[in-house]
């Protein structure tokens, strides 16, 4: 069956197809008879379109939307006729590359590939149906937690009593995210960083020529069972030191932040 035809490259993760291969240099789209220029795919993507690779070997192939103007001289057109290559790259475009709107700046990835190619390749929405087990996440450390914290996979610091003025429905909405966050936080790999943060012997000074005296964490690779238990307790103790609440959207906008953590000197978390 095989042995002839294009060689298939190794598959990419998660069934993602290969992207269209974009040339480093392109015909200058601004000038009909211009020379080759270095491509800037955030700018030049919009001059290209793609289709599924008919050979199936790679995911996509591309072509310029407008073919470069051909040499219109009689000699050149006779030659093209002889070679019968008048319309060899006139296939229909299925996907537009480049930024989806002219007047609005987009993040590089979208400005480069365009939404249609990203979608087709599997980076947007899927046809797999709704997710199966939204409440499945549970941490590796769950079974090692002290008895009192074992029954609920939610980490003690993310329990509902830690959320101020967040109602039952909102907490329920966020439950899958809170379980995933719990599994991430309550993992020995993550706990290494928290162990180092709370352990002065893991703090190492260095001097940067510009910033001055600085500190770096030496994060242990494989903390002992005792260190993990100690770290879990330190994290648990945060129940008295912090809480979560919905920030006013205008405040976050002003801060230019997705979320933020404020020190609240001299107040107890319970009174907030």
């Amino acid at each position: 069956m095989n042995g002839v035809g294009p060689e298939r490259p190794p598959p990419l993760p998660y069934g993602i197809p290969y992207p269209p291969s974009l040339p480093l240099r392109i015909q200058d789209p601004q000038y009909a008879y211009g020379g080759q220029i270095d491509a800037d795919w955030a700018k030049h993507g919009k001059y290209f379109g793609a289709r599924d690779d008919p050979s199936g070997a790679r995911g996509f192939e591309i072509r310029p939307l407008n073919k470069p103007k051909k040499d219109q001289s009689l000699k050149a057109s006779l030659k093209r006729k002889r070679n019968d290559d008048e319309d060899d790259d006139e296939w229909d475009i299925q996907y537009r590359l480049g930024r989806p709107s002219e007047s609005v700046p987009w993040i590089d990835l979208v400005a480069k590939w365009g939404l249609q190619v990203l979608d087709k390749a599997g980076f947007l929405n899927l046809d797999l149906g709704p997710p199966k087990s939204l409440l499945a996440p549970q941490s590796r450390y769950l079974s090692k937690r002290p008895e009192e914290w074992r029954r609920d996979a939610v980490h003690p610091v993310f329990r509902q009593d830690m959320w101020r003025e967040v109602d039952d429905v909102e907490y329920l909405n966020l439950k899958p995210a809170i379980l995933l966050a719990s599994a991430l936080l309550d993992d020995p790999t993550t706990m290494c960083v928290f162990y180092a943060l709370a352990t002065p012997s893991c703090w190492e000074d260095f001097i940067d020529p510009n910033v001055g005296l600085c500190r770096r964490l030496r994060v242990p690779d494989s903390p002992t069972q005792e260190q993990q238990a100690w770290t879990f307790q330190k994290i648990c103790d945060m129940r008295q030191w912090t809480c979560f609440y919905w920030e006013d959207p205008d405040v976050l906008y002003k801060e230019g932040a997705l979320a933020w953590t404020q020190a609240t000197q001299g107040t107890t978390a319970a009174s907030l």
């Binding site: 429905v169 404020q262 020190a263």
Partner: protein
């Protein structure tokens, strides 16, 4: 500047040249703390309600149209031309909230790290930056450093810059709904001069290397919410089972421009 307040100004907005917009100038999160120093500090973590609303609207999508409406409206806000919209972008929404869920989870752990640092990491005389460095990052942003440690990169919703006059909540909604997918990156604030919490050390490597973004396969997020992930893969491989896959073929690389001290100028995307 009050010497006891280093962390505060290190996190203040740096003024960005406008051409830097595409380089993720958004600061993922901020830490603030007041000038007085004690060894341990209480804190509170302010989150955005849009994440809850997004999931609520998704759960109700068979009885209300708010979820699909968001996808339709955001295309209008971004002035997207019909020729560039993927088929079924506004209908095929069964797995779309997974992005909201994963981003919120990452944000929660990120912010919690700041709170934990405030409680346990002491800097009594304020001689250091508020946060310690981890690894060889130039900027001392603990939440991002933790994300790199756990998941190998920082996840962010793909976004556009809302046009002038757009309601202020649009950007926050895009961050939460992630209608255009998620990308991950390792350098969160590339190509900034030393100072303000940015080390001199490593500046050469930073200024001469591209800023790279990778799109996250939706299938990877889908697999986070399967029994197999939590009963087989995570117990066996730990967080490696959850690390974001970075497919080099699909990356966008913003290449530094010709000016060695201002790499953003005339930078181009490959």
């Amino acid at each position: 500047m009050d010497s006891g307040d280093t962390g505060h100004h290190c996190c203040k907005p740096v003024s960005y040249p406008s051409c830097l917009w595409n380089h993720v100038l958004l600061r993922l999160s901020r830490t603030s703390s007041d000038g007085a120093r004690r060894h341990t500090k209480h804190s509170r973590i302010g989150m955005s309600r849009h994440y809850s609303t997004a999931i609520q609207n998704w759960r109700d999508k068979d009885t209300r149209s708010d979820y699909a409406d968001f996808f339709t409206n955001i295309l209008d806000t971004a002035r997207t031309s019909r020729t560039h919209i993927p088929p079924n972008f506004e209908q095929n929404l069964d797995s779309a909230p997974l992005r909201t869920i994963v981003l919120f989870a990452a944000l929660l752990v990120h912010e919690f790290a700041h709170a934990f640092r405030m409680a346990y990491y002491s800097n009594p005389l304020g001689v250091y930056q508020d946060e310690p460095w981890i690894g060889d990052s130039r900027f001392n942003e603990l939440g991002h450093a933790l994300m790199l440690h756990m998941l190998s990169s920082i996840p962010i919703a793909n976004f556009f810059k809302p046009p002038m006059g757009t309601p202020t909540q649009i950007k926050a909604q895009v961050d939460a709904y992630a209608p255009f997918g998620i990308f991950v990156m390792e350098k969160w604030q590339p190509w900034l001069p030393a100072g303000n919490g940015f080390l001199q050390k490593g500046i050469k490597n930073d200024f001469t290397s591209p800023t790279t973004h990778f799109p996250v396969p939706q299938r990877q997020l889908y697999d986070y919410f399967t029994e197999d992930m939590w009963t087989v893969k995570v117990p066996r491989f730990g967080l490696d089972a959850l690390r974001f896959v970075k497919i080099p073929e699909w990356a966008s690389h913003r290449m530094p421009g010709p000016n060695p001290v201002k790499p953003a100028e005339k930078s181009t995307v490959r």
